[in-house]
Symmetry: C2
Subunit: 411 residues, 2 copies
């Protein structure tokens, strides 16, 4: 039986100039998990109006949100580091003392596949309650091959659940050095080589769609990350890179050379780097929760627009620099702190995010697309940018089936 | 049957120096709606251990959060103003064009008591889901006597519900001028006089516990607000004031002279004003969501500490400058943007907030106190300060009865 949603409907991009296609009043017909019709309500064909159907009136209907950068498969908590950062201690200084990523590595080391999967499943349910229907989830807290695989197996387990957002798995191969790789250049090189060697095996096992590396001054170099990218391409996997978070070490140019799907962070990336990304059609993924927590200045969004980059907004959900589970909060920050327009924010968290994850049929409501859809308890897409700090999603569908429904709180 | 909560228990203030009393592992016994015992788990008297009881293990247990400054009885949405503010238009400029508070007045004018109460009840349910058990709710979107009363009647209706947070009603008598009061000094004076004349009537009807005024350069003067405060005291009501949000026009000294429970905002308040507040034991209520939305610099927290002021953190939930329903998000901002310590934030959103609302038995877990309590899905009170953007409360009790329980998302 088809379901008809009526209300203000944000369908997706209207054109290439970052404008939204809106029908108000609009209608969306969902049937067999897909969008069967969308348009102005008064144009709804009588064939749909005649059929038996369920009808849901909502103030606002949009495509499901797509969170294109998360480390959501973490376990444990790093609240004590958060307080250190508030007191002015640097992220890189905390990491140098064995905190940061290494602390999350110790937590993964002590966790089973089941307990990592349980933590991720609970987190994805909370994300679904916020209107998120697709989540990219990175490994990167294993650091050693066996533990990276453990994290990716946990991700695969949750990925199989239809009652959670769709998961896109990324092997974050070069994130930080495990203790045993810190002693010498040789040990470091061995770690990088082992991380690269794992790519083909993970691809064969179907455990990752993308490979990622953290390219920055106190992380990994362009020369270390390039062969990783080559290995990913050779294995048929996509590439995404953390670049320019603290310093520009050439990550943007590498992303362009590798044909990466996205370059993420970009607070310190040069204009030349941004231009290189734009020429290679690499998306620019903005992570304003992380820069808020770190007290950083915004990236150069004006230069990104001038370069013609596709902008993506993501949560960066992670236990250190973005201890959050809310893409809507990242959207509010992108508007307030980075100056993105309403359309840039909405497209950055739907259509552009889906494209950057290699999911061309997601992130917009068009006929034939899978029905990933949110009915909001908000009257207008501009209200979506406000820092609610709580779920305003009434009903969230993935492939036409509910993955979140708000309790009737006004009963 | 008593219920025993075990876990890390934050009981309340340890002393006058803004430190927390924590039992880890601790236990809290709830019986007949009150805290029957609290302390280290190993000291739990065998009399409790012997009885039949329900036992709930939670990583973290705190007193229920107390939101001491909200305008939560609004209807409608002002998302288009939010986007104007993002584009750099000033709040006062928007207000001068008939936007801002006057826009919310028009929405109240067109709403019934029922529809205002429904909007508030839904909002309070979402606040409860965030761990909030007491909410101060102001009128102030009626502006005219009949509409102010309509808003307060809606607040009273929701206040009667045991399945929502406790409500403390405030008559925000001087918030903005209705259109008919803008023409002349005489019309303005008549509005102020009518607002003051309403105080005794509302007090007799039991519709408000506090009276409030917005004292600022483009709002109301100290001379206009003083007789309002006098009327409140004469009617047996408490006073709280919006002061120093944009300019210091002497609001802090007025708050001190009136013996106000709290002075709120304070971004522009002088040190002399803060000292006057401290001498008169007026609490300092910080509203970081509003200053975030308005792009303001933080208030002078160091001067507040030096003055010995009691700090309160509140959401300021309102449709214009803080379109949010999240006290936890305000807490995260107080830590990140205002530099408050963990203990300052927690006490500011529990014990100090309760004291500023005239509720000496709330905001801490002590034997005999009503059991307003939250079991969190977080391991430590430091993790409460992180910008989650989603509910992390597992179970929320008001007077010992659940007003929110998370669905078992990890099932």
């Amino acid at each position: 039986m088809p379901t008809i949603f009526t209300g203000r409907v944000v369908a997706g991009p209207r054109d290439e100039r970052a404008a939204l296609l809106v029908f108000d009043p609009g209608a969306v017909v969902v049937e067999a998990g897909r969008v069967a019709w969308i348009g102005p309500r008064e144009a709804l064909p009588s064939t749909w109006a005649r059929e038996a159907f369920a009808r849901i009136d909502a103030p606002l209907v949009t495509a499901g949100l797509v969170d294109a950068h998360t480390h959501a498969a973490w376990v444990g908590s790093r609240h004590e580091e958060y307080v250190m950062k508030l007191r002015g201690e640097g992220y890189e200084a905390i990491a140098a003392r064995g905190g940061g990523i290494a602390a999350s590595m110790r937590a993964v080391e002590q966790a089973s596949v089941e307990s990592i999967a349980d933590a991720l499943a609970a987190r994805l349910a909370r994300m679904a309650s916020l209107g998120v229907t697709t989540v990219e989830v990175k490994s990167g807290y294993g650091l050693r091959a066996a533990l990276e695989r453990r994290q990716l197996e946990a991700i695969a387990r949750v990925s199989a659940r239809a009652d959670r957002p769709r998961v896109v798995a990324t092997y974050l191969a070069l994130h930080a050095l495990p203790p045993e790789a810190r002693g010498s250049d040789a040990a470091r090189a061995a770690h990088v080589a082992a991380a690269i060697a794992l790519v083909a095996e993970l691809a064969r096992a179907g455990l990752a769609s993308f490979v990622d590396a953290y390219v920055d001054r106190n992380a990994f170099s362009v020369d270390e990350a390039r062969p990783l990218g080559d290995a990913a391409r050779a294995a048929g996997l996509g590439v995404r890179l953390h670049i320019g978070q603290f310093a520009d070490v050439g990550g943007a140019e590498l992303a362009a050379a590798l044909g990466a799907a996205s370059g993420d962070h970009l607070e310190s990336t040069s204009r030349a780097g941004l231009d290189a990304m734009a020429r290679a059609n690499v998306a620019a993924t903005l992570l304003p929760l992380a820069s808020f927590v770190l007290g950083q200045a915004p990236p150069d969004v004006a230069a990104m627009r001038a370069a013609g980059l596709r902008l993506v907004v993501a949560s960066d959900a992670n236990p250190g620099t973005a201890p959050s589970e809310s893409l809507p909060l990242a959207m509010a920050f992108a508007a307030r702190l980075y100056g993105l327009s309403t359309a840039e924010v909405i497209l950055g968290a739907t259509r552009n995010a889906a494209l950057a994850l290699g999911l061309p049929d997601r992130g917009q409501l068009v006929v034939g697309a899978p029905a990933d859809l949110v009915a909001w308890d908000l009257p207008h897409e501009e209200a979506l940018l406000q820092p609610w700090g709580v779920s305003r999603a009434r009903l969230v569908l993935r492939d036409g089936a509910p993955i979140h429904e708000a309790s009737r709180v006004d009963a």
